[in-house]
């Protein structure tokens, strides 16, 4: 069973390492990459629930991410609601949309499912582009801000600097990781894997494949929506470009190369594949050629991905495992 419970000392060291990043990394640009990484950890963990755990290839995930960004941005733009309301609202709206979409499409499988998710994403893109009265079309929604955080006992804390916003997105990433961890280790998580591996067997045991897939689909979409709201407010600008196919591609690369169906794999995948494209910025056309080649080769020859097997290989077994619960 992948993702065994980590050793408490390792866990503490990793957490401490994550917490001191803004103190060590003084370069604004690298800090920016850490922030974007953390946001994409949330996205990748969500996509991983659908692609990795219940094994349905959804190409609508980037559309949920963009939808979340738009929901929060529109609330800010029209009602002056801050991100602290916009973010949960984004999660709720994307979850509701995912539920409605899932209600009709989780009854079909295979190519039909994949193509419907593409069609849905395209419709969302067309709405964002053409409903100019609401979304301002290609002009997008500029001027989004990161609001102050009200801490009981202290009062308003400004978190808009990169050093401080890092902790906001880190909290989101850790919370998402914890939610996914609890989810996949619960009976629901075991149902995920069973539905992926053998749907007929799952149904014969009284596990509804439809319900199981729906849980993964809705939770995954809510995570994407939350991340979208964070991303929109952090970048400060939301436009139909968020619906570009390149977003879903990079999200899939994070999950597939990270190691679908594990938690640490896609999370690390999100970090690696946020940094790597930026470090290869000089060769902007080459980098997509490289990534696309890696995606093709990894899908064909390395079904477990690259990063998770690497972690398994590099980190000694006794470090990875505290009191192991064999599943």
């Amino acid at each position: 069973m992948p993702d065994s419970k980590p050793h408490p000392i390792i866990l503490g060291a990793v957490l401490a390492g994550l917490l001191i990043i803004p103190l060590v990394v003084r370069d604004e640009y690298y800090l920016h990459l850490f922030i974007v990484s953390a946001i994409f950890v949330v996205v990748a963990l969500g996509l991983n629930l659908i692609v990795g755990y219940v094994g349905q290839l959804s190409l609508a995930h980037a559309a949920f991410f963009a939808l979340g960004a738009y929901v929060s941005a529109l609330l800010f733009f029209n009602l002056k609601w801050s991100m602290w309301i916009g973010m949960p609202a984004a999660a709720i709206v994307t979850a509701a949309v995912a539920f409605a979409l899932g209600w009709v499409i989780l009854r079909v499988r295979g190519h039909r499912f994949v193509i419907i998710t593409v069609a849905f994403a395209e419709i969302m893109r067309l709405v964002a582009t053409n409903w100019v009265d609401l979304t301002r079309g290609f002009m997008g929604l500029p001027g989004l801000q990161i609001p102050a955080l009200y801490v009981p006992g202290i009062g308003a804390v400004d978190v808009s600097s990169k050093e401080r916003f890092y902790y906001v997105v880190l909290a989101a990433a850790l919370l998402s990781f914890y939610i996914c961890y609890r989810l996949v280790r619960s009976s629901v998580g075991r149902a995920f894997v069973l539905v992926r591996e053998n749907e007929v067997l799952a149904e014969s045991l009284g596990i509804s494949a439809f319900r199981t897939c729906m849980i993964a689909f809705v939770v995954g979409a809510a995570l994407a929506g939350t991340a979208g709201a964070l991303y929109g407010h952090y970048i400060g600008f939301v436009s139909p470009d968020l619906f570009n196919f390149s977003y879903i591609t990079i999200m899939l690369i994070m999950v597939i190369l990270g190691g679908k169906g594990t938690l640490i794999g896609p999370a690390l995948g999100a970090v690696v594949f946020t940094f790597l494209p930026e470090l290869l910025r000089e060769a902007s056309y080459y980098r997509m050629v490289i990534f696309a080649s890696i995606l093709v080769i990894a899908t064909l020859f390395m079904p477990r991905g690259i990063i998770f097997p690497l972690v398994e290989h590099l980190v000694p077994r006794r470090w990875r495992k505290g009191h192991d619960r064999a599943a």
Binding site: R107, H111, V114, L252, Y286, V289, T299
Partner: protein, 289 residues
């Protein structure tokens, strides 16, 4: 009052675009029917056909009418290579694998094109006079008429190849029942290769012919793939005749939709139709259930 000349104009444009959609979609539907793969990289053959023709005409200064078939030949060579290297391994692979690989391949080809040829749209120079022709108030150009004749002819030729040749028969047999076809001596490997190459050739031809008035650019492949998916699902996945009818239907709907409603929203109709059809009528619009 509906102006008949304008209506005719939209109709003419719709038929031309529809023929092009059909040409691209035929390959997609065949690969789907025979190999059971939703090929997200299919539109890239259309893009490469356009670029091949453009560079044969501009760089090598070849005659336009020699460059077009030669461009198709070049893309066919590449398609054979892609089939042998990649698609051969996708036989019997799960949907997740085939889709991820073809998406990766699509991005790979698009960005190789960007790298080699740059992002700027290119129009293939052609020898036709640009002076418009007019019939009953409907305007067109010689290039338009030429393109329409070529695409229509290719569709007819494709149909005859599928219906009348031994290989066409083998393809249809494979589509109906692969194991039974293999049992009576159909060489499935070869059917895969021919179906894939044939589809790529038709898409490349569409790119080369339409490149005279629809600018050729690296991103056009992805757009073409999505349109072709809409067509394939309108016509029923795997159906050759369905792809032709679906292509014409989408072309006409878009031309009339853009003419009388809105250019921005016209694409949404196709995608809504796709969702509804896949849910309730996966066999397509035209087949009797």
């Amino acid at each position: 009052m509906l102006d008949l000349a304008i209506f005719g104009q939209h109709l003419l444009n719709g038929v031309l675009i529809g023929c092009a959609y059909a040409l691209i979609a035929i390959g997609l539907t065949m690969i789907f029917g025979v190999m059971n793969i939703a090929n997200f990289a299919h539109g890239e053959f259309y893009m490469m056909g356009g670029f091949a023709a453009f560079y044969l005409v501009t760089l090598l200064k070849l005659n336009y009418f020699i460059a077009l078939p030669l461009a198709v030949v070049l893309v066919v060579v590449l398609a054979v290579a892609i089939q042998q290297i990649v698609f051969k391994r996708l036989r019997d692979a799960p949907v997740m694998t085939t889709t991820l690989v073809t998406i990766g391949l699509s991005i790979l080809l698009e960005h190789v094109a960007l790298l080699l040829w740059g992002p700027q749209p290119q129009v293939i120079p052609n020898p036709f006079p640009t002076r418009p022709l007019s019939f009953f108030g409907i305007y067109t150009t010689p290039l338009y008429l030429f393109s329409m004749a070529v695409t229509a002819a290719l569709i007819v030729v494709g149909h005859l190849l599928i219906q009348r040749t031994r290989m066409g028969k083998a393809m249809r047999a494979t589509f109906q029942n692969r194991e039974a076809a293999a049992l009576v001596g159909v060489r499935i490997d070869r059917v895969y290769l021919y179906a894939f190459t044939f589809g790529a050739a038709l898409a490349a031809a569409a790119g080369a012919v339409l490149g005279g008035f629809i600018p050729v650019e690296p991103t056009m492949g992805g757009v073409a793939t999505l349109k072709a998916f809409v067509v394939v699902i309108l016509g029923g996945m795997g159906s050759f005749v369905g792809a032709i009818a679906g292509g014409l239907l989408l072309g006409l709907a878009e031309a009339l939709g853009a003419g009388y409603f809105s250019t921005g929203w016209k694409d949404a109709i196709g995608f809504f139709a796709v969702i509804l059809l896949l849910l309730f009528r996966p066999e397509g619009l035209f087949k009797r259930a």
